[in-house]
Symmetry: D2
Subunit: 137 residues, 4 copies
């Protein structure tokens, strides 16, 4: 999972209070939401939008996830989400992600998520040819 | 907002870890999720289901909320959600809710939420006559 | 609740996919999270940080909420959160909030939330004199 | 990841409206919350509580996750969460999880999560001897 950083999309935001838990740290499920925002930003940076994809009748659904939590993050910190495409198959796209503490550059989280393309009836589908422009990685 | 307790639907569950925040208490937005579960339970207790309502092409969308937070709650506690109908209008339903710490009966939260009926195109709509059985309160 | 807009703090962000629900709209509890982010931004804009407040042993806990949902919002839209202080009492602060669709300026949500100051043992406390600089509104 | 079902703890609940997303399905991050509830239930079934563990000054933080999403789930469905211990090391515990649609028994999600034991200062720590009763699997 070494990130092809020159090909990654980078997005930065502050950690919300609601994202913390009893331990005073960010809850581990929240990193999946940030990774998802990273994918949205990736598609947007290539001139598309995931909203348009859904409007066209296709969806990407989570299938296979591997994730490592390396360092805790806290309320009000800034985090940088790096997102890239690891692999494109006929019916699936695998995204990679690294989340860093913006101020120190320390790695907090890294993950790889394979998403399956489905159509409006939730049947597995080939990736539409129209996606090629934003899939080229 | 004195609850007509004999008409209220009661549902009980444990507080989840993910529902807490940095302060070691349940995050204030979570009570709205519990209230929503209270409404789901209310409709189910009357032999219907909010899932069926949406399947029939109607939705209830939040319009007006008043809420009081009276006592903090914590991970692993049990809470009891009491839900009832306060008022039915031609295009709106107002639900009331009280959330108690199950073990002590102490009131943690009370709220009133007016929901507007909309159709599949999200236009304001009269409440369907078919809902009468579960609306009788 | 007419906002003193010249005194309001303004913050803008895109709606996340995870913030939507079955209805294809933003879930109504999410607006409380955005309002909370508005308060964080308000305090930050005055040179403080809510993280520092908690580190100093004080907390602001939700007590009384009134909210109106005026227009639905959707994934990938930009929203602008306007936040201001409505009232400061000896032990409480009331914040006001308006959330607008950034592109059209249409009002989606307005709310008023009274927060009570508590100390590290969660006892109601006077607002520390040290907060005066960011409370002046 | 074949589950030692005779050793698994089983807990069942209905899917909440707030757990769904724009696609009409449960959001993929929610399964981590359910898995966490499965771990809470596992510890409780062995006469302990994760709340007591934290009160004693120790915490379990997520370190390594592998998860597969096999079938979508929807609002109002009942799901059954099976949770078991896969491995205990000196400083880590690995839990396994399977989430099934209760009515059909179809597998929706399976995962394995390694958690690291940390003390109150968030330093990696040996698992306290006192935990042995609930760790015996």
């Amino acid at each position: 999972m070494s990130p092809p950083k020159h090909k990654a999309c980078q997005t930065t935001f502050r950690i919300r209070y609601a994202e913390t838990d009893n331990m005073g740290l960010v809850h581990h499920a929240v990193y999946l939401v940030w990774f998802e925002e990273g994918r949205s930003a990736y598609i947007r940076a290539r001139g598309w939008s995931y909203a348009d994809i859904e409007a066209s009748g296709y969806y990407l659904v989570a299938a296979d996830l591997a994730a490592r939590y390396l360092r805790a993050t806290r309320y009000d910190q800034e985090v940088t989400v790096m997102t890239w495409i690891e692999e494109v198959q006929s019916r699936a796209i695998t995204f990679g992600c690294e989340i860093l503490a913006t101020s120190t550059g320390e790695l907090a989280f890294s993950a790889s998520l394979k998403l399956i393309c489905v159509d409006a009836r939730r049947r597995i589908s080939r990736i539409p040819a129209a996606w090629k422009p934003w899939l080229r990685h």
